[in-house]
Amino acid sequence: MGLPNASGDLSTEVEVDAFRRLFPLRFYEKHLLESIRPDARPLGRARETTIALGAVASANGSALAKIGSTTMLAAIKMEVMTPSLETPDEGCIGLLPLAARFPVSLSLLKTPGRPAEAAPVVAKQLSDTILSSGMINLKELSLVSGKAAWMAYLDIYCLDADGALFDTALLSAVAAFSHLEIPVVSLNDDGKIVLSEEQGLSDREPVNKEKRKINLSSVPFSLTCVLHKNYILADPTAEEESIMDTIVTVVLDSSSQLVSLQKPGGTVLAYTSAIQDCIALTRQRVKELQKILEEAISGMEVD
Amino acid sequence: MEYVSPEGLRLDGRRPMEMRQLRAEIGTVAKANGSAVFEMGNTKVIAAVYGPREVQNRSQQINDQALVRCEYSMANFSTGDRMRKPKGDRRSTEISLVIRQTMEACILTHLMPRSQIDIFVQVLQADGGTRSACINAATLALADAGIPMRDIVTSCSAGYLNSTPLLDLNYIEDSAGGPDVTVGILPKLDKVTLLQMDAKLPVDIFENVMGLAIEGCKAIANYIREVRTVVCFLLSAKSSISFP
């Protein structure tokens, strides 16, 4: 660890930007001493978060979620399938979140190539989380028992990556599900499910008159934190994630049950107190996110 | 199903020991260093050789011999039903490897160190025995490119159906599921360089079938020599005109 001392003399002379590039860790540590981060946030605060529902008209449900500059677009398309024999009255969620299909962040500044590599991992974690949280009752996706059920294809595109990929992906997915409007369909002569209005079958009884929205119970929300020494930094940027590599992601549902707690390695060992702090931060964050989502939904209804 | 009629005729009217019509043509691809078309009945294969030339991928360079590469591909219209297979499937990778190994064995690779020879074979029509046809076409193309070889390699297949050894199987006979013995030989040295079989066969019958295939190879070798002499003759005639 000779570097910090060697840089001691330099640090007074070089400009801030150069110092940041040359000694990123020291740059951050100097900020952390003052309990502030380079983007003027206190350690425990998340970045500005916005949700825009209905970003894509061609999908049945869609949402654009933005945490800081990390941007994810989630959209759901509903298709009809024949349910499996074991679960004749259940639908299915085709979870194919292609979290980072869009080759982002290959620029030289950020850790190159991260999202493309991280995509399958984020996708797997996301589908585990959504399915194990029990957010969606698959029975609601049934149309005709044993004959037809909905398959909800969820696709997530990462438009801009700047840390906290999983949080943004989960938020966009949850928002897209809450925006989802199931089309009115009826059964035609061939035993196929078709849209009611367009086939001139409006005289027929729609199969799903009631079920136009999905009831979301116990919605999961997440917060990613970075641990460094004794500090806990909530909602890290990509730069923070790459410099301080101990990442803890906590997912809690609306009744404060733990859905997932991921800490894949990292130089810092997490002790009970740190874990407790992370969970406490997540609890606050869940409340924030719930409010943001509610506002977005009520904003939609006013329109 | 009956593959050999009581009169001793095969489905396409051949005798069991009869080979299909052979046809070869040299120098069909103008831009290649060497090229040839080889036809065995309805099976038609085109081969092109590029090289010896600088190695494209430096990491593959071999310091004491030439790098031989081979790629086999089938045209979409080469089979009865139109196929739409992606390039580079397992079968073509395997055949590429077989051809490469066979040709590598006869090329004097040590004479061309740090260089690369590419052999590309394209099947225009597949009617059984594409493997053999490809090897024969590749031999001709290599000879056309003037690449030094120990000997030419010729290849022919033979099978065993209805208790009869059959030479040079066509597609219907090939897909009957019987044994299919593909042999490649160096005719002058009288050595076998390739031998493939993928079925169960008693040893004494196998020897018979293999012997038949070797006879086929020799016949092809004679034909190939003939083609080459004609070409050489034409070439010398041409050069005598342009450089009197």
């Binding site: 549902d253 049950q257 733990l258 859905v259 800490k263 874990i275 | -």
Partner: protein, 243 residues
């Protein structure tokens, strides 16, 4: 609370452990780890020169390749690779061999529950066998929260599928034998072996359940690290005898 387990274990009891090292000749280090019927083979190649693209050349790079028992590599395997890579990176001393790559190949021989922890233990032993510099060992445990609320350790596949509502994979450092008086190696008032290297959970549990899992996992990790220590000492004396 008494819990019936199919194999008659108590809820905190681990399955019989077995570990042998240096079983592959071509690899620089190798180990097989079995925990009941779950068996994993790990091989280490390296360090070899150069890092892959996108990796920091100022540090040693660790590459993990997960080979499932059957089938192709899918998203779950990618996730395992990522977790294993991150875990091992935090255990190894990466600054010793900068600009090198160490590959760890994990072959699943049989999966009967607690697969990822077994793989981590196997990989860790293989690294020791290869002589890769490490800060400490990583000791991995699987804790399960059953539908009826109790916590069991080291579940079998059957238990994972039928009874469990959630489980946590936890990785801790091995317990330290110190010449210093008890308690000197404490961070924030907790012994170092209580720090979590890796935590992965699936399924819904309450926060209290998670902390209970942590407690149980820590207790088990002490036993596991004793086993590892004994195993390492035993084999090193074996080899010195043979030599």
């Amino acid at each position: 609370m008494e819990v019936d387990r199919e194999d008659g274990r108590s809820q905190n009891q681990l399955r019989p452990l077995a570990c042998s090292r240096n079983i592959l000749h071509r690899a620089h280090g190798s180990a097989s780890w079995s925990q009941g019927d779950t068996k994993v083979l790990a091989a280490v190649y390296g360090p070899k020169a150069g890092t892959k693209k996108n990796e920091n050349p100022e540090k040693a790079c660790i590459e993990v390749i997960w080979k499932p028992k059957t089938g192709q590599i899918g998203k779950p395997e990618k996730e395992y690779e990522m977790i294993l890579k991150r875990t091992l990176e935090s255990v190894c001393i990466l600054t010793v061999n900068p600009n090198t790559t160490t590959s760890i190949i994990v072959q699943v021989v049989n999966d009967d529950g607690a697969l990822l922890p077994s793989a981590i233990n196997a990989a860790c032993m293989a690294l020791v066998d290869a002589g890769i510099p490490m800060k400490h060992l990583a000791v991995a445990v699987c804790c399960c929260v059953a539908k009826s609320g109790y916590v069991i350790l080291d579940p079998t596949k059957l238990e994972e599928q039928q009874k469990m509502k959630a489980f946590a994979y936890l990785v801790f450092p091995n317990s330290v034998h110190s010449v210093l008086p008890e308690g000197s190696l404490r961070v924030e008032g907790e012994p170092i072996e209580n720090g979590i290297i890796t935590s992965v959970t699936h399924g819904i549990m309450s926060v209290d359940d998670y902390f209970y899992c942590l407690e149980r996992g820590r207790a088990a990790s002490v036993k596991l690290s004793d086993f590892l220590r004994r195993n390492l000492q035993q084999q090193s004396t074996d080899s010195s005898k043979a030599g």
